[in-house]
């Protein structure tokens, strides 16, 4: 039992969170194991973004627990969670608009020791070579795919143990999504666990080990990627197929 | 609300000079607050320098009465007219700005007009302007101004109420949802903003005109005084402006606090006003909602 716990990078139990008077998440349970790729699926409005924000600390946890590498982090401020090894690539990327790619990456290294910055940057540029030519470019002028790479790169600069990505492929052409997925798989193999929110079922499940489906603030389905994909009720509620 | 109004209107029969002049001050600042809310609250444009209209109203009334020998009523009318004209004139210029830039713009306007008034011989320059005395006993005079201030406050609140319910109010709500939204709904955003500001200017100018005649001596730093805008804003926050009672109570609190501190801590009054402001903002940065 304790051996299994130790290999869990993330363990969420009964998470309740919301905005103002509105409760969005009504008790969510979810785990991510060491070096796993877990997909979080659900239609728009299911609560996925809210969940990611609660994990990263941007919104408060009202009830339940979030254990990261064995320690409770639900009460910890957002910026401190980064130093512990949780990094979120937010919905809409939220790059630092007036700054260059290099500056954005440098900002991402805020919690990293100065001596390690150059090496970390090299690792990221080897995963996203397209960024190498664009280091001096202001991020506002990058294409959608490049911006997403820069955003992911920025979050990776802190050397996280768990990378959270909210809406990976939104607005991107399929071949770009493929490139991103391949890059992320390389990152995962290097040791970073991934929790990815993704609307495109195919992209979401391609490299994922396991998946969860969220609906109206609760987990309604979970299992290995293959199991989830095959589940009939998933097909019906998520993809709108009629029961055969 | 009518009961309160009636009670207040009849008050001079029952209370003394001190109460009447204190309440007059309260009505005056409450009026400025309700008028400020028209542009800052409904309109969403933080007109920090709105006190410029108070000064314009005061000086227009003064100049009309002193240089042209015309009666008070015409002086007030002039005050309102010039205030409205100023808003209409500078509106197109300043409404291109947003947020802090607009606020500074209005501050600049206030400063510039104050400088102008200080340097024009017409307005008495830096030495100030003396208006004719109203005559009659001090009590009668004070009562007269009391009723005038009360009436102005009531008028301002009613106007605000009507504006919110009318087409202008609809336009404001659209504006607050966003310029583009408003424009796509067919709202002429500039006209809306100018109309709001003109209304705000009119009532502020009216208060200024009354102030000039009641005090009989005005100087630029007195009437173009930012502290009035600031007090008005604090009252806006504390009292809301949907009712007559709200701003009234808030104004009483603020003026009362200032008066008390002036009495006991003569040298510190400026600082204490600052502390009061800080306290209000820290504890109620977005205002207190009073129940109607």
């Amino acid at each position: 039992m304790s051996e299994r716990e130790a290999s869990l990078t993330l363990e969420v139990r009964g998470l309740v969170a919301g905005y103002g008077d509105l409760e969005i998440l009504h008790g969510v349970d979810l785990t991510v194991g060491d070096g796993e790729w877990v997909a979080l699926l659900g239609v728009a409005g299911a609560g996925k973004s809210t969940f990611m924000k609660a994990l990263s600390g941007l919104i408060e946890t009202r009830a339940g627990s979030i254990r990261f590498a064995g320690t409770e982090i639900a009460g910890i401020e957002a910026h401190r969670r980064v130093a512990r090894g949780v990094a979120l690539v937010p919905e809409g990327r939220r790059l630092f608009a007036g700054m260059t790619v290099a500056e954005n990456l440098l900002a991402g290294a805020h919690t990293l020791e100065a001596s390690k910055i150059a090496m970390q940057r090299e690792r990221i540029l080897s995963v996203f070579p397209a960024l190498r030519e664009r280091l001096g470019q202001v991020v506002g002028t990058l294409s959608g795919g490049e911006q997403q790479m820069c955003a992911i790169g920025r979050s990776l600069m802190s050397s996280p143990r768990l990378l959270l990505i909210d809406e990976l492929s939104l607005g991107l052409a399929p071949f770009l999504v493929d490139e991103l997925l391949d890059a992320l798989e390389r990152i995962r193999c290097d040791g970073t666990a991934l929790l990815v929110v993704e609307q495109d079922v195919d992209a979401a499940l391609r490299y994922a080990n396991r998946a969860y489906v969220m609906q109206l603030g609760r987990i309604v389905l979970t299992g290995s990627a293959a199991e989830v994909r095959a589940d009939a009720s998933f097909a019906i509620s998520y993809m709108g197929l009629s029961p055969t | 609300m009518l009961l309160v109004l009636a009670a207040l209107a009849l008050a001079p029969r029952a209370v003394g000079l001190f109460a009447i002049s204190s309440l007059s001050d309260v009505f005056m600042i409450a009026t400025i607050a309700v008028a400020l809310n028209l542009i800052a609250g409904y309109g969403g444009y933080p007109a920090f320098g709105n006190v410029v209209f108070f000064g314009i109203g005061a000086y227009s009334t003064g100049v009309v009465m002193v240089r042209f020998g015309l009666p008070f009523a015409l002086g007030l009318a002039a005050g309102v007219a010039v205030s409205v004209a100023t808003a209409a004139l500078f509106g197109p210029l300043l409404f291109r700005l947003r947020g802090h830039y607009f606020a500074i713009g209005t501050l600049g306007l206030n400063g510039a007009v104050a400088q102008l008034v200080t340097n024009l011989p017409l307005s008495g320059g830096g030495k100030g302007l003396s208006l004719p005395l109203i005559g009659g006993s001090p009590f009668a005079a004070a009562s007269f101004f009391y009723e005038l201030y009360l009436g102005t406050l009531a008028l301002t609140v009613i106007a605000a109420y009507l504006i919110v319910r009318g087409p202008l109010g609809y336009a404001c709500r659209a504006l607050r949802s966003g310029e583009d939204v408003a424009q796509s709904l067919g709202v002429d955003t500039l006209r809306t903003k100018i109309a709001l500001w003109a209304a705000s200017a009119a009532f502020t100018g009216l208060a200024g005109g009354i102030y000039a005649y009641s005090l009989t001596y005005i100087e630029p730093p007195d009437v173009f005084n930012l502290a009035l805008s600031v007090k008005a804003f604090v009252i806006m926050l504390l009292g809301g402006t949907a009712t007559l009672l709200g701003p009234l109570v808030a104004a009483v609190l603020v003026e009362g606090a200032v008066a008390v501190t002036q009495h006991f801590l003569l040298n510190y009054d400026v600082g204490v006003l600052g502390l009061i402001i800080i306290a209000v903002i820290v504890f109620a940065p977005n205002g207190i909602r009073l129940r109607k």
Binding site: A87, G98, E103 | H100, N119, V272, I277, I278, I281
Partner: protein, 289 residues
């Protein structure tokens, strides 16, 4: 010739205006706070210099680091424990808060130091660089040099250090900044502290070249925003350009129409807002409104 002298005087004072305005500018640019108490903070710096010079006989330029440090601490505390609570409230609210703060500080200064006008006159105050008909007091040249130096140091901090990158990031997107580990409360306080430190330096310089009293702070604050609006928010070259323009215009007005010298600042403000509100060098260097 009078005009040339006026222009040079304007340039020298312009450097001072630029450094004074930079403190105001970073607070506005990064935190979207117009600090109406900026003038009073400058005056506190001036008093620190005055006290150190009159009590300990220090040279005014030596007091600059003390003024800077003291104001940094004051500014950090003010932001962290007071202004921070109001950061998310309306714009009017933050304006009014800093206005209230300014009133409190002015009052405090009046109580502690009295309304007497003071100044610091070091023994070398009279010496000047003379070039033909042009007379440039060394002390004003030194003030100019210090001002430009402090402005450049700030620029270096913002552009070339990790701290500067973090501050800029915070100004662009508070949430995203948190997501890379930046602590907003601490960094906002640091930024306000830096702005206050610059105010402290400006105060030390004011004490050296002019007389001062608690009430002149307002005029200095107003000039700070004219310079920022003129030069463009968040731009260091803008602040230098803006400061120089204001300085030159004011000095020329002293010759042409002395009564309207103060109106010159207002006039410039209105002009810039009318024609080019983002100022000369305004660009998305810091996040705006």
């Amino acid at each position: 010739m009078e005009i040339v002298q006026a222009v040079f005087n304007g340039i020298l004072i312009g450097g001072f205006y630029a450094s004074m305005a930079m403190g105001f500018s970073i607070v506005w640019g990064v935190m979207n706070i117009i600090n109406l108490a900026h003038g009073s903070l400058i005056i506190i710096g001036a008093y620190i210099t005055y006290e150190l010079v009159s009590r300990f006989g220090l040279d005014p330029f030596v007091t600059i680091p003390f003024a800077a440090l003291a104001l940094f601490a004051i500014g950090y505390a003010l932001q962290r424990y007071l202004i921070n609570r109001v950061l998310q409230a309306s714009l009017f609210a933050t304006l009014v808060l800093t206005f209230g703060l300014d009133r409190v500080l002015v009052n405090a200064n009046l109580q502690i130091f009295s309304a007497d006008v003071r100044g610091v006159t070091p023994p070398y105050a009279g010496a000047a660089l003379v070039l033909g008909d042009l007379r440039l007091p060394w002390i004003r040249i030194a003030v100019f040099a210090v001002a430009i130096l402090s402005t450049l140091l700030l620029w270096l901090l913002l552009e070339k250090t990790r701290l500067g990158t973090a501050i800029k990031a915070l100004s662009f997107d508070r949430d995203a900044a948190q997501l890379v580990g930046i602590d907003p409360k601490h960094l906002y306080a640091l930024t306000f502290g830096l702005g206050s430190a610059l105010a402290g330096i400006a105060g030390a310089l004011v004490a050296t070249i002019s007389s001062f009293s608690p009430v002149i702070g307002d005029g200095l604050a107003m000039r700070s925003f004219v310079v920022v609006v003129l030069g463009g928010l968040g731009s260091v070259p803008g602040a230098i350009a803006g400061g120089t323009i204001l300085g030159v215009v004011e000095n020329l007005m002293s010759i042409i129409a002395p009564a309207y010298r103060d109106a010159a600042a207002f006039g410039l403000l209105v002009l810039v807002l009318a024609i080019r509100p983002q100022g000369l060098f305004g660009r998305r260097f810091y996040a705006e409104i």
